[in-house]
Point group: C2
Chain length 238, copies 2
């Protein structure tokens, strides 16, 4: 079974939702037959690369919240994160463009290091004092190295704005096609969708349901297959 998770590094519910999903996955009896793929989604695609802003200022300006409302939201997120055993910095976080992080995540996917990298990016953004957005590419290169990626290769990906850009756009187009207008968005075997940071129980139920309903394949053209099996390789009759 395959689970695809659309998310954004700038999305606190994605950070919390990932932990809840993983709690369900760890307890799932067929865990070793579940493959997890992370897909790109930008919450703020119109923001310029260097445009870094404190989260509270972004919330009040972009969404018209009062500062007290915005801070209450952050405090609530901090409490929900803590309940999952996650550190969360409720004061003085930054917000910025995440396109390059998504490009880097696609490179990491090719190298089998995607889950390691996304976890480090979340941690850097939500739990650490240093701003993930304020130090440019070298901060991302550092995290890429920590995730087990080659430093020079990561630097090269970041320096070329076209590298993996199509892959990011394709993920985003696919999210739209699947009807996801927010993240996190979990898709199980392209059959079941789970929207949002649901409780682990909901993920457990979705995993069980999708697993149980894996349908038998419809076979296309069953005649005269040129194939090899335990009894040898078929010699075609036509």
């Amino acid at each position: 079974m395959r689970v695809e998770i659309w998310s954004d590094i700038a999305c606190p519910w994605c950070y919390v939702g990932k932990a809840r999903f993983e709690k369900a996955l760890d307890a799932f009896p067929h865990r070793d037959q579940v493959e997890v793929v992370h897909r790109s989604f930008e919450l703020d695609p119109g923001r310029a690369k260097g445009d870094v802003q404190p989260v509270l200022a972004m919330l009040t300006k972009k969404y018209g919240m009062s500062e007290a409302q915005a801070q209450a939201g952050e405090d609530n997120l901090g409490a929900q994160a803590a309940a999952e055993g996650l550190d969360y910095r409720t004061r003085d976080r930054d917000h910025g463009n995440t396109f390059d992080m998504h490009r880097l995540l696609h490179f990491a996917k090719e190298q089998g290091r995607q889950d390691e990298l996304i976890q480090l990016l979340y941690r850097a953004n939500f739990a650490e004092e240093r701003s993930l957005f304020g130090e440019g590419d070298e901060r991302l290169v550092e995290l890429a190295a920590e995730a087990g990626l080659d430093t020079d290769a990561a630097r090269k990906v970041l320096a070329d704005p076209a590298a993996y850009a199509d892959e990011v756009r394709a993920d985003e187009a696919e999210a739209a096609r699947l009807g996801a207008n927010g993240v996190p968005f979990f898709v199980l075997d392209r059959t079941y969708g789970v929207s949002g940071a649901q409780p682990a129980e909901v993920f457990a139920q979705a995993l069980t349901q999708a697993w149980g309903e894996r349908s038998p394949l419809k076979l296309v053209d069953q005649g005269d297959a040129q194939a090899c099996g335990p009894d040898g390789c078929a010699v075609p009759r036509h």
Copy 2:
């Protein structure tokens, strides 16, 4: 869309079928949204690692063919391969155990080099004069390097019989569950199955059919999602 291909390096129809599938895939309009994954299947899992035998001797002994029948089968395969632009050595090929190649292919998958490696393994087995089976691990390390893998890492995988062994077994169990008793076996989005080295037109039809029938997701628990979208992050109501 995802296409999974179960195959064995020792399977000539897999070599030919891959080329036919790729012909269809190259012409498929949504080609850039199709991901291909190679899965393990052993035609001769009971054969000991060092037990290398000429193909003709294997065919006559294991399947009770006459030497003329076996050679006619090889000549036919050579002609079918040639029709796909593939080299095929119809004389003096070797046969042996492929478990370690499958383990290495799982490592290559993690490194984003699976397709490169399987193509090189096929070529080495079916088209080259040197035996793929007769030279031990170092021949595989050489091909791994050619596929862009780290030489030391590949050598380490080969030296440890447990490395990626579970992944190979899981693929084989999955093939059995899906009803594949021969290879190549192509599975599109876990919905359509294509058995054998079908003509490119059959693959084209299967790709079109599976693409057109991608079904809308069933959403699990739509209430009260803790998610972030273009209008900000939801503050939970419970």
